[in-house]
Symmetry: C2
Subunit: 308 residues, 2 copies
């Protein structure tokens, strides 16, 4: 039980992009700099998308160039197209993260592209990365279910993973985009993927929309997954279910793994200090549980009458 | 994966007892009557404790005598002492649930009894049940950790289980009273208990205080546990951590197991209808996630522009 796990925080991209208010550039940089000192394996810094599409991340270059990059931490950015890739490469990111859907309807609704169209675009993006040391990751949305279509056949997901690897993608993130996955499904799909492509770098990305986020992470762990996306404070939300939680919470995930005796490389106290300042930064409460309850090793004083 | 699971709701006891407001007797009865029609295996109706100690449950007899008992559903009540047992037996309950702590400090703080003193009292209570068909369950609080003392050695927990079975207790609930358990610990302890006492009836009782509730339930399931306590809407709270969640949420647990293809015997739609009325009944929002997000098979309409 001492396998090293890799924890990747997506709050400053996946979280901040849907916040009602723009988080000031200097606050983003300060938060990422603090996260860089926690032992996280990877930080999804921002998205090199159109400022019109996602105004909250219109400061992508400023943030990427403003942060203090800590050796050993990978800095990744979401890249939606060739132009975004060129901008990302100009900032010398460690990794670009491409996003596509496993289901046609979600792809069209969210990206205005079918999976096949996404794959074509990925080829053009990967062409642009030739000669650069950048790592190419692809996040496969709705890999565990589509909010429009329902079940996404595992064979479909596996075929898309194969196509991604064929065109030169190095890492694949299996995303439960709207929190539809259950632990049995997660264990089956992850086990199958790891068995078929033992050399590929797989990440699991879960949402806590229906309370199963950490149970799904546990199932993925049991299947052999060692890389996990999560979001500080549980920031992120679910656009389809107002009031429901979004991404699993980084500090809750790290806390669980740490209590299980697993090595995440993360300093939980430092991470919790980052999370503690998040409500002030975004102007609202965040879903994280450990932030409210304290870690499991928290001790309470005996009732006063017992001390007498 | 089609083993039958038994889901036991504790909201009307564990939840209502700490609510700021008294839930009217007729509302309690109406809720229990609705829960009885959902396929739940067991309902912890109330507590036969002193009305002064827990004023919210001062109507224990009225509630227990007022409900419509559905064949196949077990009705259990918490019983703190001989007098409570006599009151419970007079109401012809199916089960009495005795409560003790696995740790001295929590026992003294919560029940004013060490585990050894609790065991002595249990003997007297069990004496009173002789000749009655009532099932005797004991809930072992802090079995996965004590908020005052920290770790509770597994050997200590196992020794107490042995003592409980020796004095005639038929079922034992391993309780993570303040949400300190982690999945690795849960799997070890539950596996060990089931291996040592294959004939005993074990229940797992988890809190979601640190977000691990359903992950711990999954770990207990993997260990072979088939009986789970949970609370409608996640009602319950944690007296030690204001703002933190309490009991795992019944409908979230049933939803997870159902999505995994497991048989809980519960009609999730009916259960969700009960949960949906809970906020009105208690006057505040409840932590349940599926109630907010809908079940995983919920489908969303395509964006309007895609229909054109």
């Amino acid at each position: 039980m001492n396998k090293r796990l890799y924890i990747q925080d997506v709050a400053t991209r996946d979280g901040f992009q849907i916040e009602p208010a723009f988080v000031p550039t200097e606050d983003k940089i300060a938060l990422i700099d603090r996260l860089s000192e926690t032992g996280l394996a990877k930080i999804e810094v921002t998205s090199f998308t159109s400022p019109k599409a996602i105004p909250n991340l219109r400061d992508a270059e400023e943030v990427m160039r403003g942060i203090r990059r800590v050796p050993g931490v990978e800095y990744t950015v979401l890249v939606p197209n060739v132009k975004g890739c060129e901008r990302a490469l100009a900032c010398e990111v460690d990794e670009i993260n491409l996003v596509m859907s496993a289901s046609d309807t979600h792809g069209l609704a969210n990206l205005r592209m079918t999976p096949e169209q996404s794959l074509e675009q990925f080829k053009a993006i990967i062409e642009v990365t030739r000669g650069s040391p950048v790592f190419v990751n692809a996040s496969l949305s709705t890999a565990f279910g589509c909010p429009f279509e329902g079940e996404v056949p595992p064979a479909r997901v596996m075929a898309l993973v194969q196509q991604l690897l064929d065109i030169g993608v190095q890492g694949v993130t299996l995303c439960d985009t709207t929190g539809m996955a259950d632990p049995a499904q997660v264990e089956r799909l992850c086990r199958d993927a790891l068995r078929r492509w033992p050399e590929a770098v797989f990440t699991a990305h879960f949402h806590n929309t229906r309370g199963m986020g950490l149970a799904n992470a546990l199932a993925a762990l049991n299947a052999g997954i060692d890389r996990f996306d999560a979001s500080l404070g549980g920031l992120g939300g679910c656009p389809y279910a107002p009031g429901a939680s979004g991404n699993i919470c980084t500090e809750d995930l790290v806390h669980m793994f740490q209590r299980m005796g697993l090595d995440t490389g993360v300093d939980l106290d430092r991470l919790l200090q980052c999370a503690a300042d998040l409500p002030l930064l975004v102007g609202h409460d965040v879903p994280g549980a450990v932030l409210k309850a304290g870690t499991s090793d928290r001790r309470y004083p005996k009732p006063a009458w017992m001390e007498g």
